[in-house]
């Protein structure tokens, strides 16, 4: 991916546009709209993606800028992953102390593949579904898919769509979901508290809220379980996706679409 990076730094037009976008969006700042148990978070990065997109359709951005931008996404994401790394190091002793229960529970994050991938294929989504369903598509996963397939690939479009969905609606949906599930299922609140750690701080907070409200006598334990679990997810999430999540999704996608294609051919034959 980065191998093709040649003379990208000379695209001053592109860097100038991005600098202008950053200045404008950071000046607007972060705003939140409360909806039920969750908050719609409007972050500078959200305005940035929208402004960038709109500018593509204006004469300001030429085809060349858009092509170069793809490799630049990959390189700038490297800095983000480095930041994740240095945030994770200090937490290692805590994670080791937390015990195997927390780490085992991380495998539950793969649940998305078995639930959402078949649905996506059923809805007729092609390779986009790999990017969409291999994880909850936070920054680290955006980086992984960009690294492996490129952002303008089908997989890249999928992960980008899910990234935007999660950023805009994630915390509202998680807030509603956790409140609902905690009351209708027989699972223990502690299990749900561990499950809130899916690798996104705002989603974890939104999911924890209704749990604490429903079981106020367990407030401290629930909060601690959620915090540790989210910490572990944010450290292990990337590697979980690299080694298990993404290969599993690709495999399952291939198996399922092959079967579907065969069925189509069969019915054509009849």
């Amino acid at each position: 991916m980065a191998g093709q990076a040649l003379n990208l730094w000379k695209d001053w037009r592109l860097h100038g546009i991005v600098l202008a976008i950053v200045i404008v969006t950071e000046l607007i700042g972060t705003h939140g709209i409360t909806v039920g148990p969750g908050v719609i978070l409007l972050l500078p990065m959200l305005y940035a993606v929208i402004i960038g997109l709109i500018l593509y359709f204006t004469p300001v951005v030429k085809e060349k800028q858009s092509k170069n931008a793809e490799t630049l996404v990959f390189l700038s994401v490297a800095l983000l992953i480095a930041k994740f790394g240095v945030q994770a190091g200090p937490a290692m002793p805590e994670i080791i102390a937390a015990g195997p229960a927390f780490i085992l529970q991380e495998f539950g994050n793969l649940g998305t593949i078995f639930l959402a991938l078949p649905l996506a294929i059923f809805l007729g989504i092609k390779r986009e579904s790999i990017g969409m369903t291999h994880s909850i598509a936070r920054e680290a996963n955006l980086a992984l898919i960009t690294d492996k397939y490129g952002l303008s690939s089908a997989e890249g479009r999928g992960v980008m769509a899910m990234y935007i969905f999660g950023t805009v609606f994630g915390s509202i949906f998680m807030g509603l979901l956790s409140g609902f599930l905690a009351t209708v299922t027989p699972l223990h609140p502690l299990s749900f508290a561990m499950a809130t750690g899916i690798g996104s701080g705002s989603m974890a907070a939104a999911a924890l809220g209704p749990l604490v409200a429903a079981f106020p006598e367990m407030k401290e334990t629930l909060t601690a379980f959620s915090g540790v679990s989210n910490l572990i997810s944010s450290v292990t999430g990337l590697y979980m996706s690299i080694f298990i999540g993404l290969p599993l999704t690709v495999k399952l996608y291939e198996v399922m679409t092959k079967k579907k294609n065969n069925q189509k051919q069969d019915s054509k034959g009849v």
Binding site: A2, H15, A48, K67, L75, K83, V86, A88, L238
Partner: protein, 150 residues
């Protein structure tokens, strides 16, 4: 290889400067205060990209970048505390904004394919979150019961 490294350094310098400005406007950290932090993040990224080129395995470069960042900040690693202090000055969201600006410009090219996902994104998205949350809760329930905690 050398040519790539040169290119990476130039690109990281430009992106780093944009991030410093965003960090300054949005999070009120003076660029000079955040400079050592961004330099460290750039060095980690460079090291990861170079290792990725040198090693024969098919692991994404971000895997190395994340691990290097993690190792040098584990308590007890020489200088880990100083690295912590420096990199803490570079706000995560300030890093994310320029990335998403580049991403928006890049996604524009495949916008019509992207838009085709439309309402399906919302349906699949809900199932992604439901699957992750419920999957984790069920495994947690099993493990906690085996351990006799609940």
């Amino acid at each position: 290889m050398l040519k790539s490294i040169q290119e990476w350094v130039m690109v990281f310098t430009i992106i780093g400067l944009i991030m410093l400005i965003g960090n300054w406007i949005g999070y009120e950290v003076l660029p000079l205060d955040a400079l050592p932090g961004i330099i460290i993040l750039i060095l980690i990224s460079l090291a990861g990209l170079i290792i990725h080129r040198l090693l024969p395995f098919q692991l994404p470069s971000i895997a190395y970048i994340g691990i290097i960042g993690l190792i040098i900040t584990i308590p007890g690693f020489p200088g880990s505390e100083q690295i912590n202090v420096w990199t803490a000055k570079v706000n995560l969201l300030a890093i994310a904004t320029p990335i998403l600006a580049y991403a928006g410009i890049s996604v524009g090219r495949s916008w019509f394919d992207f838009a085709k996902l439309g309402w399906k994104t919302i349906v699949v998205g809900m199932c992604v979150l439901l699957g992750t949350f419920l999957g984790s809760a069920i495994i947690a329930e099993i493990v906690l019961r085996i351990q006799g905690i609940i």
